[in-house]
Amino acid sequence: MDIEILKAIDQNAKLTPAELAAMLGKEEAYVAKEIETMEKEHVICGYPTLINWDKTEGERVTALIEVKVTPQRGMGFDKIAERIYKFDEVEALYLMSGGYDLTVMLVGKSLKEVAEFVSSKLAPMESVVSTATHFVLKKYKQHGLEMDSEKEDERMLITP
């Protein structure tokens, strides 16, 4: 597994194997093969695009929901986690240490839709003890990238 390749594409998935090979001083065929292998082994799980939805017309709200659950015998948290993350509305799900068990990142069209999901789908689940829903007001930074940075190159065009 080539960590150098992963580090390079972590911030820029659009680099081609040829470009990566040039940047890393490796053969193109090798890079292509490595990427293919890592895709197969789910080291690379996909290539989503980081979109600033706030700049679009589309209605979209994100909520972070703290969920306390009762783990099931023999299955720990995995079974209940699966039951939650299978929903299309769930964008991300993390098992947490500390005051609660699961963080659910939920995406919906409106506050109402999110509230509806929590009250009709999530909260009634047998293992779910409690939920606390927090709506995201603004995303400043995601995946290491500043969302609203339209930063100009402030350097002079030519310097010695």
Binding site: E19, L24, R155, M156, L157, I158, P160
Partner: protein, 392 residues
Amino acid sequence: MRNPINQVVTDMKPSGIRKFFDIVSEMKDAISLGVGEPDFDTPWHVCEEGIYSFERGKTHYTSNAGLIELRDEISKYMKRHYGLEYDCNENIFVTVGGSEAIDLSMRVMLSPGDEVIIPQPSYVSYEPCVLLAGGKAKIVNLKAENEFKLTKDELLEAINEHTKCLILPFPNNPTGSIMTKEELEDIAEVCIEKDILVVSDEIYSELTYGEEKHTSIASLPGMWERTVVINGFSKSHAMTGWRLGYACGPELIIKQMLKVHQFAIMCAPTTSQYAAVEALRNGDKDVERMRSAYDQRRRFLIKELRDMGLECFEAKGAFYVFPCIKSLEMTSDEFATRLLYEEKVAVVPGTAFGDCGEGFLRISYAYSIDNLKIALERIRRFVERRRAEIAE
């Protein structure tokens, strides 16, 4: 009215880069690969330390030599990275960028008639600093076949009875050339034998690529006592605008440089000094992150330029490559000017860094890969068009 200007200044040629800057400035939509500073912003933890220093009311002068905490960190850093022992009270002082240290070293070392050997292509301010200090510049034209390194024979040939000092500019701006320990040993041998002082401008010391790490000539036997090492934070920590550098060397020279600094400058900017303490204490990982990004771009750029059929030696330092365009039967100036007008890409003609830069271009890779890709596509288009012209 009498001539208000000093004769040395009147005779001094304006910087070759200035002329090109004026043309580029008029073209608003040009992509530039002509910048000699990092594209990264200063790491945020370093900026925060600067902000915090304001909040604590650290808005006064520091001692002439600079904050003792900073000199202490510089001392540790020089030991940790280059195996150099400098006492923070006797051998180090903080300057306004590496530039001030270059100027001061010349002013302090030279008496009228003394000669300074300057290998070129190199940074634009060495020669003017020598002239302003009343010295005479002896230019050594470095050769492409030696990857623009200084050789023992070239140095020997340049030395005469007036030679006082050698300016050693590696890793080099504009060529990206570095000198290995073995190559420096040859130079050191000559300097010791001929009793020549060395001003080693090591501002790009953190930016070397490949197996070979930077060696400071001051770390070679017999050289510590005859070398002033100039370094700073601009390139390594992306802190160009903070204007902070330093000089290290034997007390005999540093004490005199500090004396002039005290009269001319007082002290380096206080805010910058507090930020720099943080940069040295907790900044090694930033340097590594940026170095690794530069290295990727460097490999990419060299490969692309070679694919275009341009000769380009493997530059292993700084953030420049120095391709040869002689096969296109035009001068550096013509190439750069036409590339700018026809494809809106700015590069710097090699001649801005000395006459022997003719036939070469300085291309900076202090730009994102995406930016480089666009610029390279345009350069490729231009090169192909030029080849077709020649064939006709």
